[in-house]
Symmetry: C2
């Protein structure tokens, strides 16, 4: 390795250390010592190994960098400053309310695709981006993921590791910054580089152990990783937290602590020496992009059902997703080994090149979906609604990442029947409603399911579609429209005493209740609230006004956080009387109809409640 | 190995296959082929290797068995029938609404501690039970966990694997039933037993690869596992789904399918032959339990603060947990490498023998906590509120398991400040409210925090305590009581125009708003809703009646699923006017006060809103 190159990169690493310390001391909070263990690695990546155009964050062939150990954000910002992407002065605005240089990286910043800061997610994001590069865009970009060693305890990391090896993602290169220390104590493996290497190798990666402060070793490892064509590579770098400053290096008690201004800061800066201002490194440009025609996006074909035909909304999802795939080449699908239950397999049958089997590993399922969304694809990520909760934190972070990702949870509610509560999604609406900017859609028939799939794809941002297991009658004609934020008043008269609001299976229970009540000369209005978020406040208010201000919500979901709460939240300030039926108690195995009756959401329960409150 | 023993166990395994097929065919649903791959293993465990007393499910020294591949429930029930725990006729009630033999095991059954069926959780539960046996009860029981191979892709499994090796849990023995097939296709590793062995060995386990249908090999491996004293053991068993019936064995398309009654069922039963009814095996009894005195449980010492003293509720949690540990020897604590932020380290300092560091692996943190709770301990499981969501599915299952477990989420809301949104818990109330039987507690000062810790321990079931990062003034006297389901009316007069309901930091914002409004001669009632679930409906209704039916809720949480929705859900049918302030938009880094203002929950925001709605 040219001595000159190593010297230059060492100088840049030193600059990164200086910036990390200065910016965090100015902010009064942050993680300088964790930045300092990574500085040599970041220098080698940003000023030599990675190919990217600092003038163009959107260049399709830029190598990607994901700072999985997101609390090292200051060293990333410092690298941008050294690369000329931002100014050095900008670094002093770290963590201020009016600065985009936040405590952990978010995509308010041009050069950040995904938010990090919740450890253990970055490698999954990288898997998604690597899948895109290898399988979809056929680009030669590489994806580099910098992880901490403490975060390697996160199971999500090992989901990504297993899948990346299985799909031979040689364009994925990880680096673990093994400084031996977590937040509150030493890690399990400490500085045992060999142990890490054995683990990654056992999972099918190439593993290279190095001294993470020796730039020759770092560069050599990166070269070896780039030359490895049949598997991903993990570089395991032995480092020291606080490297470069004597009173910080490998000392306990400095995680998340800044160096106080005054004597300590002065000492640290004196030890590190002055910034070197020579801009004497070359960043390799990415390959010229192929001329790619704008993808041709057609109208999605309409549904083709008969009114009254019994079709599960999960089947409607499968059909709708396949049609969407026909119309839109940007749509991809991912599923967690339940594709024959979610019916994602219908998409796979027609567009196998855009379907990714992610196996029983939901955190990586979601993380990879986020990564694909940040490569311009429109991912539909499916599993049982209950199992999507396994990826709850990844889903939370996808909102902070402002990802254009669509989640699909099947087998919602007690209506799945005999498989019992472990398989029932009963709290999924609560979590998906609580994501800023999300829309939450709950079709009642197969027509609605198909149209909402198309609607979700057209929506820019997170969409959640909730599907049911049992077959239910088709009630809408094939050309019915389902705008997000709308609803359907399916039964209405001048004599309605109560407005009953349901969705999914409970919409059908409400229709049965309507008939039973009609036979007793009691009239109800029935609303299909297929858009749980945003809610059609206007229609609900006008229905309430026509029905003695009395609403009854019914849902195949726990009482907390779902359809009822959505209605309450929308119109709760209006002095209405809003009653809620939802799954009461802890469910169990049984036939769907028996369970709906037992847990308070059947047609008979609706009839009883209407009579009580009318 | 005595030929007689092997023959007997083979016969029993055959019985298990017969029962699995018959019961699922009768039920019309279930997973017989997955039962059949496990039958020889289950036979070896239940009729030879495990020590337990079939007459006494509560014997403290019983070996534990966790069916992590919970969809194989029928084979477990079949083992109980063969062991005389239930009757063979009972098996025909599988999945009926009036039978406790549910589709996946739940603790409605005497011999089930934890519900399984959401794959990848069983090994963590086992870790908790093993920790209890080795470190707390000093019992010689072993914990056996039967996993599927598809579920070994779940990251949660590898969190448990890493920690079990780190703590040298040699009393934990896992068996992976490697039948090569997941639900919808073959697994990543197929039948590559060696690959599995390498992975477990790399993580520090003993790994033994065997033919999972050869009882000599099974017994030999179990003996070797029992004799291994310095590390846990994973037995990797090559098996075939549907083993024993020609048209099922290793055939695609039979996952989750029952054998139709009639010709196919008859053929299968003919191939398997008749049940053998000799009860010619001996189940080894567990060691006689030591005489253990009932644990002495004292009153928890009271808080000791001054009114006005600035103390964060997370600090109150730390102090309260340490005092609880002094008073109650059953209390244990677990944390995910943030103990110096959650202040679980205060418990660790006083009761290090009852503190378990679980590292950055929240799924295993929660799973092990569940396991410990099922050993009679009272676990307090803490991390940042945002990161508990990483274990969302384990938390969901803990409710189905009816676990007596306490969750503690710190760093809630935008009030954490500069670290930014990746670290902020903003949807945690939504998920914890949606657990059947849970209580959700949100102290506003350190006195309340300490008392609610004690209250949570006394409560039988899931409790969630939400703590804040910033220091807030102590407002309650040290002897104040905080009953679950109660609230505190902290400001009240005859002239109140609006009732403002807050908790945590927003209670303090409400108190500041009170002062500002008072200066303008506007009087508000202020309620501290420290019990978010159950909600103090009575107090809220009487306050509403006194304040023009007008309520304003304020919370450091997203609008969906939190304090506001809790109030709306409780009193929404009463025709009140309920307004909600919550964190609007996607948060960012900044100072706590700036963020509360920017996102709509500060004192100034409350003042503005009160004036608008009064």
């Amino acid at each position: 390795m040219a001595e000159n190159l190593t010297t230059i990169l060492k100088q840049k690493a030193n600059n990164l250390r200086i910036h990390s310390i200065v910016s965090t001391s100015e902010a009064g909070s942050g993680h300088p010592t964790t930045c300092m263990s990574a500085a040599d690695i970041v220098s080698a990546l940003f000023f030599h190994a990675m190919r990217y155009d600092p003038q163009n964050s959107n260049h399709p062939n830029n190598d990607r960098f994901i700072l999985s150990k997101g609390h090292a954000a200051p060293v990333l910002y410092a690298a941008w400053a050294e690369a000329g992407i931002i100014s050095v002065d900008d670094l002093l605005t770290l963590r201020r309310i009016d600065s985009d240089l936040e405590g952990h990286p978010t995509p308010r910043l041009e050069w950040i695709d995904v938010a990090t800061g919740s450890l253990g997610q970055g490698l999954s994001i990288g898997v998604g981006m690597a899948l895109n590069g290898k399988c979809l865009d056929k680009s030669d970009y590489r994806v580099y993921v910098l992880l901490g060693d403490g975060e390697a305890a996160e199971g999500g990391v090992w989901e990504a590791v297993a899948l990346a090896a299985h799909y031979k993602l040689s364009n994925l290169i990880g680096i673990v910054d093994v400084n031996g220390m977590g937040q509150s104590q030493h890690t399990m493996c400490g500085s045992d580089i060999e142990s890490y290497c054995r683990r990654f190798e056992a999972f099918g990666w190439k593993a290279i152990g190095i001294d993470g402060h020796n730039l020759d070793e770092i560069l050599s490892a990166l070269n070896e990783a780039k030359a490895t064509e049949d598997r991903p590579t993990m570089i395991i770098a032995r480092t020291f937290k606080g490297k470069g400053v004597s009173f910080l290096e490998n000392k306990e008690g400095w995680h998340g602590k800044t160096i106080p201004k005054g004597e300590q800061l002065d000492t640290a800066l004196t030890e590190l020496g002055p910034l070197t201002t020579d801009r004497n490194f070359e960043i390799e440009k990415p390959a010229e992009p192929a001329i790619v025609a704008e993808p041709k996006i057609d109208e999605v074909a309409l549904p083709d059902y008969q009114i009254g035909e019994a079709v599960a909304t999960r089947s409607g999802y499968g059909a709708g997703l396949a049609k969407l795939g026909d119309a839109n080449p940007l749509v991809v699908a991912l599923d967690g080994d339940v594709k024959n239950s979610t019916y994602a397999d219908q998409f796979m049958a027609k567009h196998s090149d855009r379907y990714f089997e992610m196996f029983i590993a939901e955190q990586n399922l979601v993380g990879a979906g986020i990564g694909l969304s940040k490569c311009g694809k429109i991912p539909f990520v499916s599993s049982f609604a209950a199992f999507l909760l396994r990826a709850g934190d990844h889903i939370r972070m996808s909102a902070i990442s402002q990802a254009n990702i669509k989640y699909v949870g099947s087998h919602c509610g007690v209506s799945i029947g005999e498989d019992g509560p472990s398989q029932m999604g009963l709290e999924d609406l609560a979590i998906f409603r609580a994501l800023p900017g999300s829309v939450v859609l709950y079709p009642s028939d197969a027509v609605a399911a198909e149209r909402l799939v198309a609607g979700a794809a057209a929506y820019k941002g997170i969409a959640y579609i909730r599907t049911s297991r049992p077959a239910t009658p088709v009630i809408y004609s094939n050309d019915e429209q389902f705008p997000i934020g709308g609803s359907k008043v399916v039964r209405s008269s001048d004599r309605d005493q109560v407005t009953v609001i349901g969705a999914g299976v409970t919409l059908h229970e409400a229709l049965q209740a309507y008939e039973a009540l009609k036979a007793e000369d009691i009239s109800i209005r029935v609303i299909d609230l297929y858009s749980i978020k945003p809610v059609d406040t206007e229609t609900i208010l006008s229905a309430a006004a026509a029905t003695n201000d009395t609403l009854l919500t019914v849902e195949d979901h726990y009482p907390e956080g779902g359809l009822g709460d959505a209605v309450l939240g929308a119109v709760g300030s209006q002095g209405l009387k809003i009653h809620k039926l939802a799954v009461n108690g802890l469910p169990r195995s049984g036939k769907p109809d028996e369970l709906m009756e037992l847990h308070g959401i059947s047609a008979a329960c609706i009839v009883r409640k209407v009579k009580e409150i009318a």
